[in-house]
Amino acid sequence: MKIAVMSCIHGNYAALDAVLLDIDQQQAEKIYCLGDLVGYGPYPNAVVEQIRSLDIPTVQGCWDEDIVEGLNACECSYPSLLAEKRGKIAHEWTNKQVNPEVREYLAQLPHTYKEDNLCFVHGSPNSNHEYLLPEMDAFTALERVLSSDADILFCGHTHVPYVRTLDSGQLQVTVHQPSKNEQPTVSFNTPLKRIINVGSVGEPRHGRPNATYVIYDTETTAVNLREVEYDYQTTCAAILDAGLPPIFAWRLARGLEFAEKADDPTHVCER
């Protein structure tokens, strides 16, 4: 069965519309969403209403959480004070825009969704603020998949799609306890595991303005990283009309923003 997985729509309705059309053309039978439906973009309510109307299983992203619980991320989530300031403006704007039904919907979204050997999260199984970057230490990445108790971990949050394959993982362990006899070294092995980062529909950061998402075939295990062209200039104009920071339009037109290059991307915000 072909499934489509998308994330980080960020209030960009035009991008969502284009991706839904592409999913239809790809003949995917089911769609999943990894959160961040709102924030940055000009159409938070319309995006949430579309996701709800299609009954798409969705997990809560960090922006969705912040709209429900109040701005909760510490400055470590941003690469600079300037980026933090802009992020706060976007949060306040979105907070004023979202209607009560949308807020209620975002509040009830789970942090994790599991189906068979697939696990769906926004950031990581630990936190929807943690970035699983492609260059993350391989053992750390493996631990994140293992902690989800799945073979395939779908995530978003970084806005740059990738597929990471982790194979033939093994660690040798010797445990010594004074109360017990000397125990032999034990080898722990893991089967093939994968992290599939599905990129971003509405705020891509892979260097081009196109929306990105993933088609996954549960039978063949083939992964197709999809890149979809759409009229991003419509969204850029709407960002400016809404009075959101113009930098959001600038970076949307270029597919750039290095927010994922924070000093410590694995930091889990506890504030």
């Binding site: 492609p134 230490d137 391989a138 053992f139 750390t140 990445a141 493996l142 631990e143 293992l146 902690s147 740059v160 799609p161 990738y162 597929v163 990471r164 394959t165 982790l166 194979d167 033939s168 993982g169 093994q170 660690l171 040798q172 362990v173 010797t174 445990v175 010594h176 306890q177 004074p178 109360s179 070294t185 722990f188 893991t190 990129g199 892979h206 990105t212 992964v223 990283l225 890149e227 694995t266 506890e270």
Partner: protein, 240 residues
């Protein structure tokens, strides 16, 4: 030589027995680390705090970090990261919460609030639970991937912890994993990543079991590790 202990849990007799054992060591102990759970729902908790705050002449000044019980105190007094002591009540009930409240003065809780979350000395992390939280319980049965993660979060080679109360030496002897990344633009070649040797040590528990305390001696210079068991009270005379 370092003496590393955890879980006094308000048991003043157990703490005195361990201090006496430390004094008896042939190799001089230069640092005394207490990895949390100094207090518990025990009326003697204040006595333990006073003893730690006021070492006798010639005794080491203990380096103290917080543990699970201290975190419950903070929640009780509205000083913690959670508004309610839900973990404490779920595990031990409201009567224990009341007993813990009655066991400690506000002044003592404030003193505990200023203690460290853990220590990083040389290449060693000394902490109650783990880098995740005071509740994270590492045991001999913890999967190695999880152990390695806890070590890698702070780039430590040795992690000393006390949450489980057990004494153990968990050696990660090495390992490997093949990793490849495919992006929109290009596939990256498969790389074999190797894991270095690392270690997690359960330092034991001083006060939970009446009459028997366990703690750990460690020399960072020779990398030697020794688990100590101290019997006291009616069980005295069977120490090793």
């Amino acid at each position: 030589m370092w003496a590393i202990l955890s879980g006094i849990e308000g048991n003043i007799a157990a703490y005195e027995a361990v201090l006496a054992d430390i004094k008896r060591q042939r190799v001089k102990v230069e640092q005394l680390y207490i990895l949390g759970d100094i207090v518990a729902a025990n009326p003697d908790s204040e006595k333990v705090i006073k003893r730690i705050q006021n070492p006798l002449p010639g005794e080491l000044e203990p380096q103290v970090c917080i543990g699970w019980w201290e975190e419950q105190c903070f929640a009780l007094h509205g000083l913690g990261s959670t508004a309610e002591p839900t973990e404490l009540i779920a595990r031990f009930g409201k009567e224990t919460a009341k007993l813990l409240w009655d066991s400690l003065s506000r002044e003592t809780v404030q003193w505990l609030r200023n203690c460290h979350f853990g220590f990083f000395e040389l290449d060693c992390l000394l902490i109650h639970g783990s880098t995740i939280s005071v509740s994270d319980e590492l045991t001999p049965q913890t999967p190695p991937w999880q152990m390695l993660d806890r070590l890698q979060r702070v780039q430590a080679n040795h992690l000393f912890c006390g949450r489980s109360g057990q004494v153990f030496e968990y050696q990660l002897q090495g390992g490997s994993v093949n990793s490849s990344v495919m992006t929109l633009d290009q596939p990256h070649p498969v790389q074999t990543i190797t894991a270095p040797k690392r270690r997690v040590v359960g330092v034991g528990n001083v006060g939970r079991e009446l009459g028997k305390a366990t703690y750990t001696l460690y020399s960072p210079y020779s990398d030697s590790l020794e688990f100590k068991t101290v019997y006291y009270g009616s069980k005295k005379g069977f120490g090793n």
